[in-house]
Structures are given as structure tokens and as C-alpha cells.
Symmetry: C2
Subunit: 351 residues, 2 copies
């Protein structure tokens, strides 16, 4: 077993605040996925981890529900009633899951959270359609809005925030696909892609929380920036775990992202910073489709190039930038403590 | 050249009301597809028929824009200002086009309106993503809403109407895919599928018009039913044209839907009404993947089963049902005349 490099923080456990909203969020999500008795809705529930392919309830891995939890926490931290944000938070989780269903088709991934992906079970056409359904169910959930005379307006605002986040997400996804066939991507371009693909919806999560806490545009915008910086840290941590994560913790094989030739932050870093011979070897490994990349060799190249430490430093930079945004947010002392813990988890988690 | 059967109405020209809204609608659509300088937006504009694959403007076939035209016409017929409905009408056309982009992937269609499909040009992953972008741009456009204090509420209402129509559309799409591998579909089941896949968005078009004309729930609901019946007539006409349409008018080869083994209304009818030997031949033709179906043979089977006349009669039935809905709508005399002409065009068109 490799020992972690000096300075790497210990893995942190899932913060307790995730349990705080779980039951309510689960109810809101199940309400959002109600519909006629069609296998199409079974696919959506399967993706959410509630049922098996036959539609029978299962107690499986339902994902971390990071985004809606961040939304509800921010709402409460800003003095709002998180119950008012529930339908929008459920919509956000559905948006994320629709993107996963489509993402798995694009990447031809057969497995997610230990089960076959939706397209692997039902085929590509039905899976595209199931993703489209989940996309529109997200909108329909957010439209429910809170009770009271301001409800419809808040719902419309929430739908707008979700839609803007989703359009950024599709832009990031577009770049991610385009980068697959490119060998000259810079770290800046990579971070621009991450800002859309991953960070936008984390920004959306916090911004939505501020909408339902009744905050003005300045606070909403600061919340969004807070989320964007934290979301970038989240993705680079994901990239690190995809290469150096412990299989028994992540549930994925060693170097799984290298095996799949994913151009993650550490790889893009090594492209530009490894010694010339190593750079050439790495490029060849990522171009050749003849045989699987040598994971141990690629990992060694990345480590020689200092890409692991550089990625850790980049995570810390984004985490610090997000801390700066948090400092100016008008959150309660309880909320601040929770957000600090959640941010630490997101940036430093071990799975 | 085959002569048309007795009783078939003469092809009707595109009603003038389509020209009435074209320029305004085009502006609203272009505004809805504005975004950062990414090929992803080029894909959306390509699908809309505005640019070639390199992003250069073209003057090509932009489709009939049936749905937004119906929306704007209904709004004006009910005494509303169609300009107020423009962003939602543009959203409706984008929804329709997002579904076409995904549909072409599902059906593996290489060509649409005389050009390669989006996935054919940019590949499946980018095309899935481009469809997702167009879906969310539809929501963002509808959220713009009309000016005035009621604007945001009307926009929220429009987004809800669009989302409900879109969820019905995904349900219909789901059934359509499921039916591909089934040989026992009844005409009722087929019509249930059409009600979602095609008719729902036509219902949405008229309902949206009523929303922006300030009508109450009863009128909105009657408008939706009017559209659903007309939308079903529209689809069965499409099915007839896909088999018996004149190639020089439709731009598609003779019997193109039979060639692609599409289970359209006339085929489902013949399955249940052809003589036993013909039924068996038809089933074999639709099951075998070894060679292309014999279009002339299949057409002859359908004609012997009376499926063409039955389809024409079914169109007339739905057209009459839609006329009954139109009679109870509080539309102006001008509006009624326009709607009658449009309904006739939709149900009896030759392309």
C-alpha cells in the first residue's frame, strides 16, 4: 500500500448536515418523480437508486445528494426556511441525475454506483428519453414553489436559476467531449470546462438557497461564486481520487480514470510539466487505442512531474478562494460552521 | 404515377397566417439561441436551419414552425397580443427541435430536411448535449415573459404549460421506442402513443396562446383538447404521407416509412384488418432485418386491407372532433376563419 504524501489531509467523514435534510429531501424527490405507470418512470427511479430494473424497491447507494444538501443548508444558514426550498432542491438533484444518465451514454460507461447504467439496461434510445424526462421533471418540481403569495414568483426565480446553471452545464459538457480528441488543452481551458460541467450546478445550489432565504442579487451572486470556487475544488478532488483514490474507499479500481484515458487535471498538468520523454510517453498512451494504458507507468509519470502535489495545491487554492466568499456571506454562526465543515469535506474527501 | 383515390381532398397550400408571424418569431428564436462563442450553439443554429456546419448563414429549409404559429394565432384569435406570447412560442419551437435532435439519434436517421442530422455531423455525444442545451434554452426563452406587472407570473405559467407538454412528449416517445420491438400493438395503443409524442405539443401550442390572452382554466383546457385532437389528425396525415406521399412534394422517397419499417397507423391497421396471409407477410416483412422490405408489396397489402381509406377516415374523425372544440372557443370571427384554414391544412396537407 502506498503511503499518502506529506501534507495530505486525512480523509473526512460525511458531515452530519447531510442527514439533517435526508428524509425531507427524499420525500420531495419521490414526489417529483411521480407519474403514469410506465417503464420510463421506473428508469428515472432506478437512476435515483430507489428501485431495481423491475421496479422493486431496493436499499442501495443513492448518491451523496451533495447539491440539494448545499442548497438547503445555505437557505437555512441565511435564515430561510429550508422546507420552502425543497421542491427546487429536488429539481436540482434531478437535473444532476439527468446529466448523469446522458453522460453515461456519451462516455459509454456500463456501471455507476455499482449497478449497470440506465442505457446498459434499457438501451440508448430509452436512456436518452429517460434523461429528457428527468430534465423536465426537474423544472416541474421547482415550479411547485413554497406556499404564500410570493410562492409563484419564487418558483419562477428558482426555475431561472436552475436553467442558467443547466445551460452552463451543457456548455461544460460540450467542452469536455471536445477535449477528448484534443492533445493541446491547457490547464486554464480545463478549468473553464470544469467551471461549466461541475462548478455551475454547485453555484446553482447555493444561489437557490439564497433565493428562498429572500436575499438580494448581491448575496445571491456571492453565493453562486462561493459555489463555483468550491465546485472546482470538488472536481479536482474527484480527479485526484480517480487516479490515487483507495479502491476499497472509492469502490473503483486503482487508476480507473487513467485506464479510461480521462483527461483530468493531473494529466493535463503532466502534459505541460513532465520531462520531454515522459510527456511523449503520456501522449502516446492517451492516443493509442490498441491496448489499455499502463496505469502504473502513467501514475509514475504524473508523480515525477509533481502533478499530484500540484493538484492538491490547486484544490487548496480554490478552497481558500471559496473561504473568502464565505466570509462575506451574511450567514448565522451555526450556518458558517456547517458550511466550513461541508467545504472541507467536498475539497478533501476520500471518496 | 398513381392516381389519388376517390374522395381524397386536394392538397392545400400553407395558410397565409404562417407568414403573418414569421419575422417576429424568427427574431425571438434567434434571441433565444444567443450564447457564448461555442460550436455547441452552432449545432443548435444548424438544427434550426440558420447556418451550415461551419456556422455560416444559409437560406435553407427552416421547417414549418407549425407549433409556435398555432400558439400566436390562438393568442390573437382570443383577443390577446401575440407579441406577448413570442418568447414562449419560441420556447415551444425549441422544445420541438430539441426532441428532433434526440429523435434522430434514437432512430439513427442520417438526414433531416435535406441535410445531415446533428449527430451525423457532430457525433452522438455532442448531439445529445446539443439537444439538452436546446431543451434548457426553451425554458430560458419562455421565462422572459411579457412586459408589465403580470409578466413574471405569466412566464411561470408558460413554463409550466411547456413542461407538462414536454413530459407528455417524453412519455409518447418512450412508447414509440417500446412499440418498435412489439408486434401486438393495437390502434388504441398507437393513438395513445401519438397523443403524447405529437399531439401533446400541439395542445401545448393552443394552451399557451390562451395563457397569454388571459383566459381562464376552462378556455385553456378547451384549447389544449382542441390541439390534442388536431395533433392526432396531424400525425395520422404524416403517417399517410410517409407511405403514399408524392416524392416530388414530400422530398422523401416513395414509401419511405415502409422502407424504415415504421409502425405507423396504416401498418397497425393492416396488422389487424388484412387477410390472414397478408397479415403474415406484413409481420415477416417488419421482423426480418436481412433485407429491405418490398415497398410495393407492403403498399399493396395495406391497400387491400383498406388501410389507406381507414386512415383517411380516422383523420376526418379527429378533424371533426377538433372542429367541435373550436366551436366552443371564444375566438373572434377572423380568428375562427384562420383556425379553420390552419386545421384543414394540418389534417389535409400534401407535405
Amino acid at each position: 500500500m502506498r503511503s499518502p504524501p506529506t501534507g495530505r489531509p486525512a480523509p473526512t467523514a460525511t458531515p452530519e448536515v447531510f442527514a439533517r435534510y435526508r428524509a425531507r429531501l427524499d420525500r420531495a424527490l419521490r414526489e417529483a418523480v411521480e407519474g403514469p405507470d410506465l417503464p420510463l418512470y421506473t428508469m428515472a427511479r432506478y437512476q435515483m437508486g430507489w428501485v431495481d430494473r423491475a421496479g422493486n424497491p431496493v436499499a442501495g447507494d443513492r448518491g451523496k445528494t451533495v447539491r440539494p444538501t448545499l442548497c438547503l443548508l445555505m437557505c437555512e444558514a441565511l435564515g430561510g426556511n429550508p422546507d420552502h426550498a425543497l421542491p427546487a432542491a429536488a429539481g436540482l438533484e434531478l437535473l444532476h441525475n439527468f446529466s448523469l444518465v446522458h453522460d453515461d451514454i456519451m462516455d459509454q460507461d456500463h456501471s455507476r454506483r455499482g449497478r449497470p447504467t440506465v442505457w446498459d439496461v434499457w438501451g440508448v434510445p430509452q436512456a436518452i428519453d429517460a434523461g429528457d424526462l428527468m430534465h423536465v421533471l426537474a423544472t416541474l418540481s421547482a415550479l411547485r414553489g413554497p406556499p404564500g403569495p410570493d410562492g409563484p414568483l419564487l418558483a419562477a426565480e428558482a426555475v431561472a436559476v436552475l436553467a442558467r446553471g443547466c445551460s452552463r452545464m451543457t456548455e461544460g459538457q460540450h467542452l469536455d467531449i471536445a477535449f477528448e480528441s484534443r492533445d493541446d488543452v491547457t490547464l486554464d481551458q480545463y478549468l473553464g470546462m470544469v467551471d461549466g460541467k461541475t462548478a455551475a450546478l454547485i453555484g446553482t445550489a447555493f444561489e437557490l438557497g439564497a433565493v428562498f432565504a429572500g436575499n438580494n442579487r448581491d448575496v445571491r451572486s456571492a453565493c453562486r461564486e462561493y459555489g463555483r470556487t468550491l465546485g472546482t475544488a470538488f472536481q479536482i478532488r474527484d480527479d485526484i481520487l480517480g487516479i490515487w483514490g483507495e479502491p476499497e474507499t472509492t469502490g473503483k479500481p486503482v487508476g480507473s480514470d487513467l485506464m479510461r484515458r480521462k483527461k483530468t487535471w493531473p494529466v493535463v498538468h503532466a502534459w505541460h510539466h513532465a520531462a520531454p520523454a515522459d510527456q511523449a510517453r503520456l501522449h502516446t498512451m492517451f492516443q493509442s487505442r490498441a491496448c489499455a494504458p499502463d496505469v502504473a507507468d502513467a501514475t509514475a509519470i504524473l508523480e515525477r512531474a509533481g502533478s499530484r502535489e500540484a493538484a492538491e495545491a490547486q484544490v487548496s487554492q480554490y478552497q481558500e478562494a471559496s473561504d473568502a466568499w464565505l466570509r462575506i456571506l451574511p450567514v448565522s454562526a451555526w450556518g458558517r460552521a456547517q458550511l466550513v465543515e461541508v467545504a472541507r469535506y467536498i475539497a478533501q474527501r476520500a471518496k
